[in-house]
């Protein structure tokens, strides 16, 4: 690390604590070995017997045995419909489901009632956007008016967004007559806040932004953006997909109004994620998906709705996955997110050394500094281009060496267009990634241009 961060070891007793990170706080070699042993998939080989080097955790993470076992155990021992049924199994399933919500809430610094289960981050963001649509149509009564939009209103996003935090807002604008504006990205891959005050104005109703870019790894200045939104009374929506698995995240402390994240990126199952909403906002927000389980009183004429979070959880939920996600959160919490983040700072620094390879250019910040709260200002997600070799071809050569990276635009076309490139290759780490793996990646990458006889 290029700066001197406060060194405090991760404290497993306080998951979600924004513990400052720095060298010395990271996982020990023995701890890391123990972590890796928890992930059965990491032991497999690929492409003719090569050990797998999985550097695609930003797309989806691998899962520890305890998460897999939890899902199996749920089906073997507790499977029943939750929140209905008068039998013991239903009771046990409901307890497991709600305990998982409590675990996840504690992990991200929220109250359980502020966590709505969704199939993932994409659904969570769409939930907010469609609730605002419904409010615009007059649904939800007077309390929901604060979510109504119209001509003259503006929604602000950033040029760095994943399509999941861009397209729903474009669509919401199209449905309501609001206008989409965005904060640009500078050459360094960080948000360019120089015109912030003329972008976030009295007309701004929503400010939606990613906590950590899934392309550049840059950590957004959340406090500054939240302050800008608050000054004008705009709602903030944080896409926390790439932060929650890698940093201590305390949503109450960050002060955002909504946040979305996916279970599958944080060692949990696919098919489950969460929307966080401040209690007061969720209470005022009209439902989106309607049907069973989200109602109070239903007559043939009209229906009243359950309080949050059930109001937003219509139909049978992904119970086994939710229970698995609760355990994934506990798993990370026990490692301590301070230690996880410190480990990943090391990995980010090791990954960034690819910038020393001739012809390799990193898209995004080229070093790891210390941001607010002593946390790193960029994470171990490193996108890059290789002069004269297309990203797809880079990925293919790495794959042949057993190294899994992602290639393409990573669901962030505007950001790629900003840098004048169609595609990048991306290496991303997680808590189980080792510096040896990153070394193997660098070595393989160094051979790519020779393979294609580019010099």
């Amino acid at each position: 690390m290029t700066t001197t961060a406060t060194v405090r070891p991760g404290d497993p007793a306080r998951p979600g604590d924004p513990t400052a990170v720095g060298h010395g706080a990271e996982l020990s070699a023995a701890e890391l070995a123990a972590v890796r042993a928890d992930f059965p998939l990491l032991g497999r080989t690929v492409r003719g017997g090569r050990p797998l080097v999985y550097l695609d955790s930003a797309a989806t993470s691998q899962k520890p045995q305890v998460v897999l076992d939890t899902e199996v155990d749920f089906y073997e021992q507790r499977n029943a419909a939750v929140h209905r049924g008068a039998h013991q199994l239903a009771e046990e399933a409901t307890i497991a489901f709600e305990d998982a919500r409590a675990s996840l809430a504690a992990f991200v610094g929220a109250d359980p009632g502020e966590i709505v289960w969704t199939p993932g981050a994409t659904s969570a963001i769409n939930l907010v956007a469609y609730a605002m649509s419904n409010a615009t149509l007059g649904r939800g009564g007077v309390e929901a008016r604060r979510f109504a939009l119209g001509a003259g209103d503006e929604i602000v996003v950033t040029e760095a967004e994943h399509h999941a935090n861009l397209v729903p807002w474009q669509e919401l604008c199209a449905r309501t007559g609001a206008t989409l504006r965005w904060i640009p990205v500078g050459d360094d891959g960080r948000l360019d806040l120089s015109d912030l005050d003329s972008i976030v104005t009295e007309r701004t109703r929503v400010l939606a932004f990613g906590h950590v870019s899934n392309v550049t790894g840059a950590v957004a200045p959340v406090a500054r953006l939240v302050a800008a939104a608050r000054r004008v009374g705009a709602l903030t929506v944080l896409d926390a997909c790439q932060s929650v698995p890698h940093l201590p995240v305390d949503l109450h402390a960050l002060g955002v109004d909504f946040a979305a994240f996916s279970g599958h990126k944080m060692l949990g199952p696919t098919g489950v994620g969460a929307l966080y909403g401040r209690r007061e906002l969720l209470e005022a927000m009209p439902p989106v998906t309607t049907g069973g389980s989200m109602v109070e009183v239903v007559t043939m004429e009209a229906t009243t709705y359950a309080p949050p979070p059930q109001r937003f959880e219509a139909g049978t939920q992904m119970v086994a996955q939710a229970v698995g996600l609760g355990v994934a959160a506990d798993y990370l919490g026990e490692l301590g997110m301070g230690a996880v983040a410190a480990h990943e700072v090391l990995l980010a620094e090791e990954l960034l050394r690819i910038g020393e390879i001739p012809g390799v250019r990193v898209i995004g910040p080229s070093n790891v500094g210390v941001g607010p709260g002593g946390l790193p200002d960029r994470l171990a997600v490193v996108s890059f281009v290789v002069d004269g070799v297309h990203a797809h071809d880079v990925g293919q050569v790495l794959d042949d060496r057993g190294i899994a990276v992602r290639v393409g635009h990573h669901c962030a076309q505007p950001l790629h267009r900003r840098f004048g490139i169609a595609a990048t290759a991306r290496a991303s780490a997680s808590v189980y990634t080792t510096t040896d793996e990153v070394g193997a990646f660098r070595e393989a990458l160094a051979g790519v241009r020779a393979f294609f006889s580019v010099n």
């Binding site: 492409r47 042949d400 393409g408 076309q413 790629h416 169609a422 393979f451 006889s453």
Partner: protein, 166 residues
């Protein structure tokens, strides 16, 4: 040969470096039927814009592909495949072009096994893409130019539908 070397055959690398048919040509008004197509590979954002000019056959039946030109950017597989295709179909009758297209699609579905000798003779340099068919994610790259060819032939009016070309 490793799977990787089977995929990146020298022919492919050569075509990728020195592609044929690059640079769009407009033949202007005249007897040629012209069509243009823009295709994008949604996974990686690779693009090709391709133009065909077809000399219609006697009594308006059939015709000959007079020229194929294109522009685009993408991986070596998509660039080389479009280049090889350009060579193969230029001068071919629409029926021959349809056969080549069908054979190349068959090759791409062959999971690395390739086709019979006769069919491979017809495909010529394009058989070098056999190795690509082992990698499901890359088959789309190899088919990008062919998709643009088919679409531009339809747009030119030379083909009534894509029945002839898959």
């Amino acid at each position: 040969m490793s799977s990787l070397e089977q995929m990146y055959q020298q022919v492919i690398l050569d075509h990728a470096k020195h592609p044929h048919g690059r640079g769009l040509v407009d033949h202007g008004p005249g007897d040629l039927l012209q069509g243009e197509s823009h295709q994008v590979n949604t996974t990686c954002g690779d693009e090709v814009t391709l133009r065909v000019a077809v000399a219609p056959g006697a009594a308006g039946i059939g015709g000959t592909v007079e020229s194929v030109t294109w522009e685009g950017q993408g991986c070596s597989i998509s660039q080389a495949s479009t280049s090889v295709m350009t060579e193969l179909v230029t001068g071919a009758s629409l029926t021959e072009a349809a056969r080549l297209d069908a054979l190349f699609h068959d090759l791409m579905s062959s999971r690395g096994r390739g086709l019979g000798d006769d069919d491979e003779d017809v495909l010529g340099d394009a058989t070098a893409f056999t190795g690509v068919s082992q990698y499901p994610a890359r088959i789309k790259c190899a088919l990008l130019g062919w998709a643009a060819l088919k679409d531009s032939l339809v747009r030119s009016g030379a083909l009534v539908s894509t029945d002839g070309l898959r």
